[in-house]
Symmetry: C2
Subunit: 306 residues, 2 copies
Amino acid sequence: MGRQTFELLVLGCASASPTSERYTSSQLLNICERYFLIDCGEGAQIQLRRYKARFQSIDNIFISHLHGDHFFGLPGLLSSMHLLGRQPGLTIHCPAPLKDIMDVMNKVSETRLSFPVTWNFTDNTGFNKLFEDDKVEVWSFPLSHRIACTGFLFREKPLQRKINKEALKRYRISFADIHLLKNGHDVTNEDGILIRNKEVTIDPAPSRSFAYCSDTIYNRNILEYIRGVDLLYHETTFLQDQAQRAAATFHTTAAQAAELARDAGAKQLLMGHYSARYTRLQDFLDEATPVFENCLLATDGKKITI
Amino acid sequence: MGRQTFELLVLGCASASPTSERYTSSQLLNICERYFLIDCGEGAQIQLRRYKARFQSIDNIFISHLHGDHFFGLPGLLSSMHLLGRQPGLTIHCPAPLKDIMDVMNKVSETRLSFPVTWNFTDNTGFNKLFEDDKVEVWSFPLSHRIACTGFLFREKPLQRKINKEALKRYRISFADIHLLKNGHDVTNEDGILIRNKEVTIDPAPSRSFAYCSDTIYNRNILEYIRGVDLLYHETTFLQDQAQRAAATFHTTAAQAAELARDAGAKQLLMGHYSARYTRLQDFLDEATPVFENCLLATDGKKITI
């Protein structure tokens, strides 16, 4: 059996304003058929349609901060979910004032959504669990931007240990004990024999993780939250030629993001949130890869499987 | 010399939600280099870029009503104007609560726009002048929708009469008198001769007009406002197969819009705001043209010159 899905789809990779090539920030993450929408720039619903994503499957939306290029697509997406008759609840993890915006919009348009929305307000201090089920956890952590902003860490829960069927043949074993073995315990069987876990199980595939960091100044304090992630999305609004401007506007350069990926022990770095001044994205790779080898460019429609 | 510009660009023609083919309602009207944006559905700024419209030239925005498919693109457009450093003022003609929405959005994103916005709140009773300069007037008139909604009438001011140079050769004439003749007056020249206007001038081209009607139930009360327009945009959300649904949701069918165009003596009818259920737009033409011959289909990117 293959591994369960862990797939990221980039819906927009521009900072500030859309360009003719790039919509503003939004990504769709599918972990084991849980669909997480991360930021929702203007036109996110159009991109979801373009890339054939079934947007009614999204049950959780995460908004990093309240600059327009990260949430101006939310009213339209919720409206379309409503017009299509959505019934299941939706949870929106976001800074609290976003609810005020949506409330006033729904009031003036006399709209009462066809589905319940649960608001889970983020706190940009500390490492906070936002979501958990049997397969996945999502955490927020503080980024350092001009207004309150959080990063998000998505990770699979540790998988069960795998039974080495050959090794287990030597013992009489109950169904309940197999469950205990899968969860890492030693067991004593009905013959009174101690069966050591490591003798009859093997390590599962390591659980996978994705961290999303947009927008933020270069900030080494995030290393503790993103250590060892399989994929790190970190904004690279600028190249080093604009390092001063990056710092002044609380953004990051490609070289700086590569340093963070390297020092966090990330497996891959995904760059994006490019300033409209840059038309040649290869320059981001050229700047980042000498620092950290496994760099990828976000482009609208790009899919990354972990 | 050719006539001055009077050109409409359709930016979006879908109702409710964008589809893969159609953005939501927005049109850009250029009359004598005055740029009027009419409604501003999600992604209007993306469409303006796609069709190479210089959106910083827009000085007046008209929002018919506060259903999201008619204004969800406004926050992003204003934000982009701001990020590009716009200085000239912008006037937004709209229902009053839109200002509340924009205020709360700017507050949470800590944005202070780089340019002044003048809010001109529309009133959906009566025929009210919203804009006037030396070339153009814009009026609002009531539509009948589920929430307050206005139509807009754009018309050139009457053009000056043209001087018949051959006829005028017979007289001595001052510069000031030519100005009076162009404005329709008779004059007496320095030789004491009465020069009759109709003897030395010819009629100018008739002034042109465009009326925009979205969203509304079929309503013959609008005829008085749109009589004789060169181009009538009237929503055709449905075909006659959904006439009941059209009435129940305060929308109009293609046949009904054609009746209004015919009875108003409009020169052309532009249809749009199509329900997503319809994929074959030819059906709108097939239904409307037996009633009124000069029908056009709005499609994204379509340009109409009057």
